[in-house]
Symmetry: C2
Subunit: 332 residues, 2 copies
DNA sequence: TTGACACATGTCATCGTTGACATGCGCCGT
DNA sequence: ACGGCGCATGTCAACGATGACATGTGTCAA
């Protein structure tokens, strides 16, 4: 900036005035400044500016478990579509689903003085350490899963309701033994909720819950293996509910390999080529982009000063898409 | 920081020394400072620090066309896996494949004084405006496609070679009329290269090039429609080469809807459920994570001062994965 | 003619942090 | 006993920008 000022023969302050449309500047001076700016390729230093005006960094920190997973990618896209038009930059990091990485990412973001924090919390974490920041007015919103140990804004899918609807759909088509394939049980919020929805649907239909019909696996291969185990049971399920996209893919693969076209399947979360599978896959679709946009809007509204002590919870509804695999009748 | 200093009864400088392990500090003082830091929940202000030390922001700016596309999501994941261990933060923005957004994103990143710039360039852009920055020593690497109007480092897939291999595979299985379904022709680098590879393979086999067998569409639906047009030709192709993931999905869907299991298909870029499609999809797989990591490592090596005037080009090889759809014999 | 006022620009201090250099004190060797 | 050295800490300025306030000039009404 000093260079530009020297070039034009004015003070840095005047250049600043021109660039910020702040205070009166002679038309001719303005033009000469603009020209010098172009000539020297000057770009104001955002870091310095932010520091001076005491503002937080015009950025939003987003923590997701993995970038490669299209679900979270789409969530991130939703976030970006909302924050960018507001002039905010998106800073992203992936936690690999570990509490340590998540925490270190958050620390980095806080040190950068981001204007808002959006977190897809890792299973094992505890977010009490963020209380101070939240109390200090920093907008913090959790996505896909609520915070642990702290009441905070969060945006989640209608996991329990969606799972209930999906399983009820299978029940409505005559199934009485329905297998559940989900992520590892432990602590994952979405898995818990969807499992509850599964039990809700069974209970509503007066069907018994059979622990033997519940299998787990974290990735696609593990889910496949889980399905193989279920099908090998003495009294195997006639239908399966896959509680997430990897479980769905694993189930689809396992059934295809076993050439079992008679087992009904409903997956949680939609897949790209669902309609051309054999049979076409029935799913309970989430709306990841909507989760992102809703969460981002929540952050913005907090930024615009709607502090509100109370934690706001937003639930994005799911949508059952019947395509064939969920409408198969029981094979026995 | 001043607060911490006051709490302990020392100067800010001493606190700074403790936190940066810089210069000698009495053990006792160090401990008292650390305790005050904990007590007050103090976090050093990175913006101020960076400004003072005149360093660039410890961040890498990444521009991708869309976050929702798993290809670019995986690329971003690859980038992050390399830059994070180096203490660099990843700043991401999506250009929606438009030159304007791309440029405005780059401007934002430059104003933030990022340490490096990684760009998946939009089709219509011209990157001459980045010459100054590059000359000034800012590491700039282009991913998936080279820069336009400027020689710069870039990491791309072996598009032409991969496409040639894929099409040659179809030729080897007896096909003589092979349709090409790609993105809109215009200017997109990857489309051009893959198209060249297609022509290379035809030429190598002594097959004629027939313009009627080339169709385009930007998204999945358009690609589907393109395939429908190809199949409706008086002398239709017996095999198809789909030049990107959307084209592949569109082709798969179109063939499935038309119940045409006799048309051979090779897609460029792998798809999640490729193996369970009917028939299983043969693809020329790219390695998006490798593109990301290679590009990130290039940036880091430039950061470590391997300036080198010359632009470095890195090509990530593709891999043909035969699964069935590409090995179908011609139906006539 | 004078003073009030609008306008164009300048001066200075400051944001939070850290480099460069200064200070004060105790200890050691000669 | 004294110079010199090392340690612990302090002082000051500066990074690049802008807010608060000051200055200087021209215009116009009284």
């Amino acid at each position: 900036m000093a260079d530009v000022a020297r070039e034009v023969g004015v003070t840095a302050k005047t250049v600043s005035r021109v660039l910020n449309d702040d205070g009166p500047v002679a038309v001719e001076t303005r033009e000469r400044v603009m020209e010098a700016v172009r000539k020297l390729g000057y770009q104001p230093n955002l870091m310095a500016r932010n520091m001076r005006v005491g503002a937080r960094d015009a950025a939003i920190g987003l923590v997701i478990p993995e970038m490669g997973n299209p679900f979270f990618g789409t969530v991130a896209g939703g976030v970006e579509s909302v924050v960018r038009p507001r002039g905010l930059t998106l800073i992203v990091g992936s936690s690999s689903e570990t509490a340590e990485l998540e925490r270190s990412l958050v620390a980095t973001f806080l040190a950068r003085r981001v204007s808002g924090l959006m977190i897809v919390p890792s299973a094992a974490g505890d977010h009490r350490y963020l209380r101070t920041e939240r109390a200090a007015g920093l907008p913090i919103v959790f996505l896909d899963r609520p915070a642990v140990g702290m009441a905070a804004d969060h945006v989640v899918s209608g996991n329990r309701e969606g799972a209930r609807e999906g399983v009820a759909h299978l029940v409505a088509h005559g199934h009485r033994r329905i297998g559940f394939v989900g992520d590892l049980p432990a602590v994952l919020y979405t898995r818990r909720e969807r499992f509850q929805g599964y039990r809700d649907a069974l209970a509503a239909a007066g069907l018994p819950f059979d622990r033997a019909l519940v299998e787990s696996g974290h990735d696609q291969e593990a889910a496949s293996a889980a399905v193989v185990r279920l099908l090998a049971l003495p009294d195997p399920p006639t239908a399966l509910f896959a509680a997430n996209n990897f479980a769905s893919m694993g189930a689809v693969v396992a059934l295809a390999r076993a050439r079992r076209r008679d087992v009904a399947l409903v997956g949680f979360d939609d897949l790209p080529l669902a309609e051309v599978l054999e049979p076409p896959l029935t799913v309970v679709a989430q709306d990841p982009a909507a989760i992102g946009t809703a969460a981002a809007e929540l952050v913005l509204s907090r930024l615009d000063g709607r502090p509100s002590r109370a934690a706001h919870r937003e639930q994005i509804p799911t949508r059952l898409i019947a395509r064939g695999s969920g409408e198969l009748p029981p094979s026995r």
